[in-house]
Each structure stands twice: as C-alpha cells, then as structure tokens.
Symmetry: C2
Subunit: 499 residues, 2 copies
C-alpha cells in the first residue's frame, strides 16, 4: 500500500526539518564550541545545508502534495493538526518558492562570515572590519526583497520572516504610541531622582553566578535530561531537536546580569520545550513568531524575574552567596535596584522601559538602510546621533555602540522590532494567566513556578506554529496585539520611582 498524500507530506517535511536542525546545530556549535580555525569550513557547511534544505523544500514534490491535499485542508477543522499543517506549509512553501536556493546559501555563508568578522570588530571596536560584510549582507537582502511582489514597504518582506503577517506600518503605529508614553515616563522618573544601584557593581564570582543560574533554572523547570546551559559572550537559545534545549548565558565578574540573561533564555527555551511533541519534525514545531517568542523570554526575565515575589524567594540565597557585596543591602533595596530605570548604552543590559527605545532606534536605522536613505559607512554616526536623541548619551566607542549586537552581522534585518513587540505581548498574556490562576506572588515567594509554566504550556507553548501570531495572541490573551496593558504595567510597577 502506498502512503497517503498527507503521510508523504509529513515524510518530506520531516526531512526538511531534519536538515534545518542540522543547520541549527552547526550554528550553535559555531557560537559555543567551535575553535576559531573552523570558521571558513563552517561557513561552507552552513551554506550547503541551508541551500539543500531550501532545494529539498521547493523541488516540486511538496507543491504537488499541497495541491492534492487542498480538499482535505478545506474539509478539516481549522484547528486540526491536518488542516494546520497543510495551511502553514502552504504559506511557507509559497514564500520559499520565490527564493532561489543559491541566494539562501549565499545569505547563510555571508552571515557566518559576518558573524566571525563581527566578533573581531567588536573586540577591537573597529567598525571598518564589519563594514564590507554589512554591505554585502544588505545587498543580498535587497535581492531577497526583490524575490517578492512589491510590498507596501520593502521592510515588510524582512519583517514577515520574523513576525509573519505583520506590516511595518502596524509596528510603526505601536512603536509611535510606545515611544511617546515611554519618553514621558522616563522624564517623570528622571525628575524624581535616582535609585541606588551601586551595589550591583562589584565582585561577583562567575562560578557562584553559575550555581545560582542553575538553581533558578531548576526551580523554573530545567532538567539535565533535556537542557544544557553554556556560556557565550552573547546569550542565546536554540533547540537542535525535540527534547534538546540549549541556553547560553554570560557571567561577568562584576555584575549580576547573568541571572537575568539566564531567565530570559529560559523563557525562549521553555517555549520550544513545551511544543506539542506530536508536532516534532514538522513546521508546526516552533514558536509562532519571534515576537511571541520574545514575549516568553521577557515574561520569565521581567514579569517573573524582576518581580518582588521572585526576589522574596531568591534574594536571601543571592545575599548569602555574595555576602561581602550584598550583606548590608535589604531585599527592598535590591528589588528597586534591579528595576532601576536609567538610560544606558547597551540594549541587553537596559531596564524594562528604556529597552524599547533601544529597539525603536534600531527599527528606524534598519528602515533607513533598507530604503537606501543611510549608507553603511554612515551607520556609526547615525547610531551615535540616535543615542543622543533618545537618551542624551555620548557613545564612547563603536563596541558599546553600533557593534554591540550581532543581528546585523548575521544579516538579520527586521528582527529587532520583535523584541519590543514581545514586551507588549508579554503583559497581555500575563494578565490573562493571572485571571485564570489568581495571584501568583505567594507561589513565587515559595519558589514555585510550576502553575505559571503549566498554564503557559497548555495555552501557548503547545500550540507551536499552528495559528498565525495574531490568532495565537487572540486565543491566548483574548485580544489583538495592544500596547496599553504593557504601558499600564510599567506605570504601575514603576510608580515608586516616579513618586
């Protein structure tokens, strides 16, 4: 008996997924384990695997199967596995068909080389080393945009890869609202005078930070059986397969930022971990968009990890481990310090409020680059001007300026806005969880996070990519993406800093 078209589709998608996971591992390893001498060969391997993944995806067989499956899609329940898999595959296929595999391979190779150059450029604070890579990547991205029907704005094409169905104009609208509200809040806080956070800089032995990171992760739900935590200069999460979740964090010897980075990456990891295992090796087995993904990293980093009740549980532990540094700092002072709002140079170290302005600056610069209003050579200057405009800060060097993030060096233009969209969505989902679960503070104070994790697992993580991001948010939170709850949350939480 021959397999049904649906089963044949699954087999084909499983293959494509396996190849994609091989590329994921090549990437993870490059960032975490590979000796630098392997860089050139790795760029080639990544290019080949990515190109063949694309070739395999669009070689015609999947298109034929999708045609055969149209009636099954139409007769099946929209929510069913079958209809969802066909629908999601169809959209991905129609996009992929437009992009020559050679271009996919070239982008991947250029990204691998760009990332390697970025590492050196940042170390030496030398933008010139990255510049030709950015120019090449932007040129490739223009070719990528040209593969599609003319969009409302060229940036739409890039954004759609990270936040499917979202338009640049929608993002702009949300960001305009956010920008106005947040700048007002920052001004109010600025006028109210400072919070003391001087004790957050000092001596914090990395080995002890590692221990604390693991304690938090275990309380959240990490286990050695399905997770790893490694160290990289730039924390990230990836999953090279079901049951295999990889986080990285960065233990700096003079602050405690690693704890927040660890919680952040846990949020990404637990989303992937919680995908319905029945989706494994299909395009449904992934977070639905980077924005929704980020909503979860920010949930665990901020809504949990910067909450008073979290620190009621964990501060005694941190205080005991770093007694010389924190012995005389009480829990309330610590809580306020880790929530201090203050303009700063580095996005990933930014507080919950100013963080979004870092994103908005990048969103604006990206559009300028893509639309040709800004040349790569002028990017550092434009960056520095933006930092002055948004934060009234002087950027002392490119390492702490335009070179701080790896995204552009990897050709990932259009990715940044998802971070702020994630912030916005995190509170929408959070408020819905609290409606179901009631107040969580008592549980957090006991180090119990299972109820929250289970709720998110059931209502969000397990959905994977079955629905569109907007559908997903509407199902989980009961409303479309909306910045108001987020702004309200920040105002409420930070009221003491204003008053």
């Amino acid at each position: 008996m021959t397999a049904s078209p649906f089963d044949r589709l699954r087999l084909r998608l499983a293959e494509v997924n396996d190849l994609g996971k091989a590329a994921t591992l090549l990437f993870w390893d490059q960032r975490v384990m590979m000796p630098p001498g392997g860089g050139a060969a790795r760029a080639e391997a990544l290019a080949t695997v990515s190109r063949l993944t694309q070739e395999r995806f669009i070689d015609g067989e999947i298109g034929r199967l999708l045609d055969e499956l149209r009636s099954i899609e139409e007769s099946s329940d929209y929510d069913s596995f079958e209809a969802s898999l066909i629908r999601v595959t169809r959209r991905a296929y129609e996009k992929a068909m437009r992009v020559p595999p050679e271009l996919v391979g070239e982008l991947r190779r250029a990204a691998a080389l760009g990332l390697a150059a970025w590492g050196r450029a940042k170390e030496q604070s030398d933008f010139a080393q990255l510049r030709p890579h950015l120019e090449a990547l932007l040129e490739l991205r223009q070719r990528y945009i040209a593969c599609f029907d003319p969009p409302d704005e060229p940036y739409d094409v890039l954004l759609d890869d990270y936040e499917p169905h979202m338009k640049t104009a929608e993002v702009r609208e949300i960001f305009d609202q956010l920008k106005e509200e947040l700048r007002r809040l920052i001004d109010e806080i600025g006028e109210a005078g400072g919070v003391d956070d001087s004790f957050l800089t000092g001596e914090f032995e990395p080995a002890k930070q590692r221990e604390l990171s693991h304690e938090i992760l275990r309380a959240f739900g990490y286990s050695d059986d399905e997770w790893r935590l490694d160290e990289t200069a730039h924390p990230f999460m990836t999953s090279p397969g079901a049951g295999d979740i990889r986080l990285t964090t960065n233990y700096r010897p003079d602050d405690l930022a690693s704890l927040f980075a660890t919680m952040h990456e846990f949020g990404h990891g637990v989303y992937e971990w919680g995908l319905d295992r029945a989706f494994a090796r299909t395009p449904l087995a992934t977070g639905v968009s980077l924005g929704v993904h980020e909503s979860q990293s920010r949930t665990w980093e901020n809504l949990v990890g910067r909450s008073r009740s979290f620190w009621r549980w964990f501060y005694p532990r941190v205080q005991a481990v770093f007694e010389p540094q924190l012995g005389s700092v009480d829990e309330e002072a610590f809580y306020r310090a880790v929530n201090k709002v203050q303009p700063s140079l580095i996005r990933i170290d930014a507080d919950e409020v100013t963080y979004n302005l870092h994103i908005i600056l990048r969103f604006e610069l990206e559009q300028d680059l893509i639309e040709g209003r800004l040349a790569v050579k002028d990017l550092p200057e434009a960056w520095n001007a933006g930092m002055e405009r948004y934060f009234r800060l002087d950027v002392p060097d490119d390492a702490r300026g335009v070179l701080q993030d790896m995204h552009w060096a990897a050709g990932s233009f259009g990715y940044f806005p998802t971070y702020a969209l994630g912030n916005v969505m995190s509170v929408q989902i959070w408020e819905r969880a609290l409606e179901d679960l009631g107040d969580l503070d008592e549980r957090f104070e006991q180090g119990e996070f299972g109820d929250l994790r289970d709720w998110l697992h059931k209502h969000l993580y397990s959905l994977g990519a079955k629905f569109t991001p907007q559908e997903t948010i509407e199902r989980v939170a009961g409303s479309r993406i909306d910045a108001k709850p987020y702004v309200r949350y920040l105002r409420e939480k930070l009221a003491p800093q204003v008053a």
Copy 2:
C-alpha cells in the same frame, strides 16, 4: 562561461563533503554535548543527513562527470591532484552506487539508537538491552554485504570500508603471525615475573590530569585556534571541518590512563590536521584508512608516549603534580610500569603486546557473527570463552566484557582489525622516520616533538587519501605492510621484562 567538468565535480564533491561534515558534527555533539533527551530526534537527523548525502553523491551527476573526466584522468600524472581526485572519487562512487540511500539512512539511525542503548546497557552491565540493537544492526549489515558482488568472504565487504583494498585473508595471515609471536612473548614475560605498577593506581585528581594533558598536547602541536579537548567516557577524535580538530579523553580519578588516551587521540587529530588544505571539501581530505589512522594514534601514544625519552622530559612534571602518589617512584620505575605487559580485561587499557590479542578476539567473533556461526544471544558467552582462551581471565561482568566497546553498538563490524594493523604499520613508518631524522631521544628529552611531527606531516599526513593504503605505506615506509618490524620493536623494548 560554464565551469569545466572538473570544476563541476569539485563543486558537487564539496556539497557532499559539507553534508558529511554536518553528520560528523551531529555525531560529535551526540557523544559530547547533547542532553540525553535529544537522542530520538538526533537519530532521525543523522539518518536524514546521511541518506541525503548518499542520494546526492549517487544522483547521476557525479557519474556523468566521471565519464567525461576519464581522458583527463588517463592523461594526468598519477600523483596529480586531478588524477587522484578522479580516481578516488570513482572508486567511492562505484561502491556507493550499489547501496540504496534508504539503507544508508537506516544504518545511521540504527547506529544512533544502538549507541544510546549501549550507554545504558554498559552502565547497568545488562547485555539484554543491547541485544535487539545488535541483531538489527547485523541484519542491516547483511543487507549491506548483499549489495556487492559476492566477495571471497562476506567480511571483506565490511573491512573494505575501513581498510580499502585489504582482504580478510590478508588480515588473517598477519594476525596469525602476530598471535604466535605475541603469545610466546607474553609467556616469556609471564615466566620472568612481574613489574611493580601498584603506584599507577591511587589518587590522581582529574583537574590536574586535565592540566597535564594540555601541557603534553601543546608540546605536541595543539593550539586553541584549531583544536578542542573534551571529556567523554570513551575517548575519540573527529574533525567537523578543516582547521577544527576535536579530541576527547577521560580522566579517571584513580589512574593516569587519560594521558595515554590524550596522546592517542592527538595522533588521530594531527593526521587530520596535517591534511593538505588544498584537499578541503574533497574525498582526499581524510586519513587514507583506519589502519593508517591508527598507526598515528599508536605512534603518539606508544612510540612517543611510552618511550623512555618522553618520560625523561615529562615525568618530573607528573611527579611534581602528584607528589604524594609518585614522590618516591623514580623515572625508571615509572617508565617500566607504564610499559608493563599483563593480560587484562579492557582493550583500551591494555599494554602494547596484549592489546593485539584483544583485537584478534574481536576479529574472530565478528567473522563468526557475520558468517552466522554465532548468534548475538550467545555473544557474551563466546566473548568470555575467548578471554579465557587468550588471557586465562574470568570476565566478571559484561560491562567489563562484551559491552566495553561502542563499535558494534554503532554497527561498525570490520573496524577492529584496523587497530592491530595500525600497530604494525606504526613501527614501519617510525623506523623510516628515524632513518631520516636520526635519533629522536635527545629531542624528546627536551620536550621537542616538532621534527617528528613535521616529518610525518610532510611524508604521510599531507597525502590524505590520494593513494591506496598500501601505496601510502609503500611511499612512506618503503615497504608493504609487514608485522616483523613491530614484533622486533616489542621484543627489543620489552627485553628487560623477559630477562
């Protein structure tokens, strides 16, 4: 202008090589980094990548190009890059054409699952957990053998994958000679009474072993730029790409075996490291056979690492680091202890003489399994009988018996004999190096290993897989494979234990 057929061949081979390297990394990661929960997904990814590598290799394009290139091959110098690449590709292609990609994928999946089961089976010393995997793997191997023209012996087909062009009968002849000579030597040593090696068991802090391993490696030629050293229960070496050499070793807290494992894996690593970089992403970019590979691991482990002059350099360092344990042991006593000949249960811990009998036992059992004279269920009993016959040893449990090695669990039948062939070839190459370089002892005593490494690099490593293993040995050592130099070397080195 379209690319020449030779350039098109190179492009195709580069692709296939990149896919192969992706599989290499999937494998390395599985053994070294992957959380156990990722095992099922990894088995699928390995199966898919291996199957697609095979599909891509035999999809017809390479065959057409090889036909077009026949005249170039014939008109080019045998030693030239062009003729060698075409010749080596042709042989690999003709073999690959016979094997359905599905079978390649199935073997890879079964190997990944077998390895996972082996880990648990060994831990619990429970052969029953491995048995169904071995049965499945043997069945797949029979299907693999059936893909080829009937060989003189079925084992020939398996052997050829690890030691190209070598026949089982040739191996048997070498091993029969070896068996007789070595058993006589073992008897003579046995009658002469023992060497004291009691001080090699005791307290040896793993962190200090790690430090010493790195010191040796650096003196040998390891650098952080192109190498890694990790820890696994079973040491191995692999290279996921040019300029990326990965060793593993195992630091046991109660002995110093890690130092020899590290030197062993270095030998494998430096062979891959020394491949002509112009061969990158072609089938020439690999050691020519597992036997020749093993000749190099055994060179650095034994001919260098168990030599008197090596320990004249390094023993003071080891003695200082492990003062409580070795403070009263002089260099000569240490040297004799690490060369003590004594029948033992575990192959990888065996001395230079008895090691070969471990291999011969496996070679015999493998043939019995493949020819159907031995059922998997009876393998533990046959193993134990063999250990009694060769060593007069009782095997206390399967963990220290039939479960000790991972090879069979990965479906690698036919691999073991290459270890003893490597021993034999190592001395042939070594004697030739000494003819060119003169006595090396003074250099080793100073911790200088560069001359040896450079000679091996120039005469052996850089050749890669350009020639057949026999051609390679003849070019490097000036003679065909021959056990006599090896036996003579052992007799000479171990004379003090006989006398």
